[in-house]
Each structure stands twice: as C-alpha cells, then as structure tokens.
C-alpha cells in the first residue's frame, strides 16, 4: 500500500556499496544476483551460524533483563492507549502483533474519532523503516538459514534485542536463533507490561489532575534522549523541529509529524558526502 517512492528519499543514483553493516562484517561484497548469497563466504564468523535450541535459550536469557527494562515503556504505552480510548484487549492486541514501541506510542497519540487510519498506518511505516536497515545488517550471518527461520526471527525484532543480537553474532558464537529467543523475551514483557499499563490507566480518573496528560510528552523527551546520536543528530533534528512547528500552525491534521520527519531525512540524503 505504501510505495518506497512515497518517502521521496530515493532519487539519488546510489553509491556502489551495500553499506548496511555498520561494522566490518559486510566486507563480503553485496549480493548482485538473486542467489549470490548462497555461495558467499562469511569471513566475519569464526563458527558456522546454526539455528538451534541452545541459541534460542541463550537469546531468551540474555534479553530478559533488557526486556524487563523495556517494560517501563510498555506501561507508559498502556496508560496512553487507555487515554486514547483503547480497551485492554485492543492495546494488548496491538503490542502482540506490532511489537514496535515508538511507533505504537505515536499511533495512540494520533488516535481520534473517527480513526485517521491512513495517517496512522503511514506514520507507523515511516517510523519503522529503520527496521529494514537493521534487519539487512544481519544478512551476513543469516544467509545460510532457511527463509522460515530468517523471517520468523525478524518479526520479533525490536531495537534492543537487535542490538544484543548484533553483539552476539559479531562475537562469532554462531547462534542463529539468538534473535528469535531474545525476541520472545521482548514480546512477553512488552505484552504483559502493556496490559499492566492499560489497567493502571483505567484506575486513574481525570488524567490531567495527576499530571498523566504529560506522560506522552515525557515519553517523547525520554525517547529523544535515547535516540540522540551526538552531533550528527543536530541538523536533522533542527530541521524536524522548525518544519513541524511551522506545519502544525499552517496545515490542518497531523501531517506535520511526517513532514518534519521526511524533511530531516531529505536533508540528510542531500547533504550526504560519503
């Protein structure tokens, strides 16, 4: 439903590198042919990547403390979902099927009556586009796994367990099921904390009286602190700030969110100098 062209980001001719691995692990050249990945050796790995129960278990146990921490966002999301008018079941369904924190929080912020479905779905898509890059960065290790194993694991990928998985695989452990195991831990905590938050939200009466109407802004400030990537974030964020504030005052609806985000991304594409 949403073309990549819709982002307006890909008008450049394209540099030669695949360039999706942030570190040195993609030094094996990009896959040019549909089946090129089958023959390519992976020099970054010490052990062949396998998909087994041991990796699943290690992933689950490693990610559990992190997943419990992410539960804080789950509770906040549940409170916001309740304020937006979602039932416990609806909020839990969203957490169980979407499993992408920032985009879910934005979605319930956009929630209204009638539901602006197109705006919500497109905004969610734009926020989660980063997962494409993150997933692609796993390709050097995943190339010998079956499509079912790869795509099944990627569905439970979130920011935190992706980072843990990259660290695990880069160490050369060869645990291909680590992403799935860590993702299951994330999923369990995320759904459980969402339910907790929704119930907590319904226990509170008038949200403004207890400052609960500020939870959303507070969540975004916290998210911004986590997403701050040093000085390289400064220019895109300034552009997003100026464009969104101007657009919010001139254009009806919630389009200022996408306009601010896309303006920042477009500037980054134009300014890019390798």
């Amino acid at each position: 439903m949403v073309e990549r062209d819709g982002t307006g980001l890909d008008e450049d001719g394209g540099a030669e590198d695949v360039g999706l691995g942030r570190d040195d692990e993609t030094g094996d050249g990009g896959p040019e042919k549909p089946d090129a990945h089958r023959e390519q050796p992976v020099d970054a790995n010490r052990e062949p990547v396998t998909f087994g129960l041991e990796g699943l278990r290690t992933g689950f146990l490693t990610a559990t403390p992190v997943a419990l921490g992410v539960g804080g966002y789950g509770i906040a999301f549940g409170v916001l979902a309740h304020q937006a008018g979602l039932s416990v079941a609806e909020a839990a369904l969203m957490s169980a099927t979407v499993l992408a924190g920032a985009s879910q929080i934005v979605a319930v912020e956009l929630w209204a009556d009638p539901i602006p479905a197109a705006t919500i779905v497109f905004t969610v898509f734009a926020i989660n586009l980063r997962y494409s890059l993150m997933g692609a960065a796993l390709q050097p290790w995943f190339q010998h796994l079956s499509p079912k194993q790869i795509y099944g694991s990627l569905v439970v990928m979130a920011d935190e367990n992706w980072a843990l998985t990259m660290r695990e695989l880069a160490s050369g452990s060869g645990r291909g099921a680590f992403l799935l195991g860590s993702g299951i831990a994330m999923w369990l905590c995320w759904v459980a904390s969402t339910v907790l938050g929704t119930i907590a939200g319904s226990a509170v009466g008038d949200p403004a009286r207890y400052g609960f109407d500020f939870v959303l802004a507070a969540v975004f400030v916290a998210l911004a602190v986590e997403l701050w990537d040093g000085r390289s974030s400064l220019h895109p964020w300034l552009v997003a700030l100026v464009v969104s504030v101007l657009a919010a005052q001139t254009i009806p609806g919630r389009w200022y969110i996408l306009l601010g985000g896309l303006a920042a991304a477009a500037l980054e594409v134009i300014r890019f100098d390798g």
Partner: protein, 105 residues
C-alpha cells in the same frame, strides 16, 4: 476485569492489523531486499535519521502549545533520563514535576 476492557472494535482491530502488516514488512523487507538489490549509503543515511526526527516533529509542536509548567517538566525528564537512563524514573519525575509546576505557575 470488565467486559468493556475485553471489547474489540472491528475498526480498531483492522487498523491494528494494518499497523502490524506494515511493521512486519519493514522488519523483513530490508533483508529480503538486500538479498536482491543494493541500497545506497546515501539513502541509508536519510532513513537512519527518521526515528529521531519524527520524535522531534511530534514533541516540538506539543511543547510549543504548552506553557512554562510543561517546559520545566520536559527539562526534568531530559535531565533525569540523561543521568539515570531509566525510563520509569524519568517519567515519574516528569509527571511529578508537571503537577508541582502547575500548582506554582
């Protein structure tokens, strides 16, 4: 738990499932694509700033519409989050802050 809390509105379920589908597409789409075509570093640089930029694009108009109490509380969240990296602590401090600032301002 009341029956209301378990209710599932068909429209809500539809939007949630659409969100789930586009999110799943972003999660599996990258590796699917990179097994077939090249993605330029230039485009990658643009995509990598999207999450932060969208968060700012939501936050900036929201805070602009608020007042000194909200600005002060946002500052409290910023500092607590920066220092402790604990989301729960930062949120609690922010909510407490906004209640106090509203009582004073």
């Amino acid at each position: 738990m009341t029956a209301e809390s378990l209710s599932l509105d068909p429209v809500v379920v539809g939007v949630v499932l659409a969100m789930a589908v586009v999110t799943a597409v972003t999660k599996v789409g990258g590796i699917w694509l990179v097994r077939r075509v090249e993605v330029s570093e230039r485009l990658e640089a643009g995509l990598s700033v999207l999450p932060g930029a969208i968060v700012i694009a939501i936050l900036a108009p929201e805070l602009t519409a608020g007042g000194p109490a909200e600005w002060g509380a946002a500052g409290v969240v910023l500092i607590v989050m920066w220092r402790t990296e604990s989301i729960l602590l930062a949120l609690c401090a922010g909510v407490l802050g906004v209640v106090l600032f509203r009582a004073v301002v």
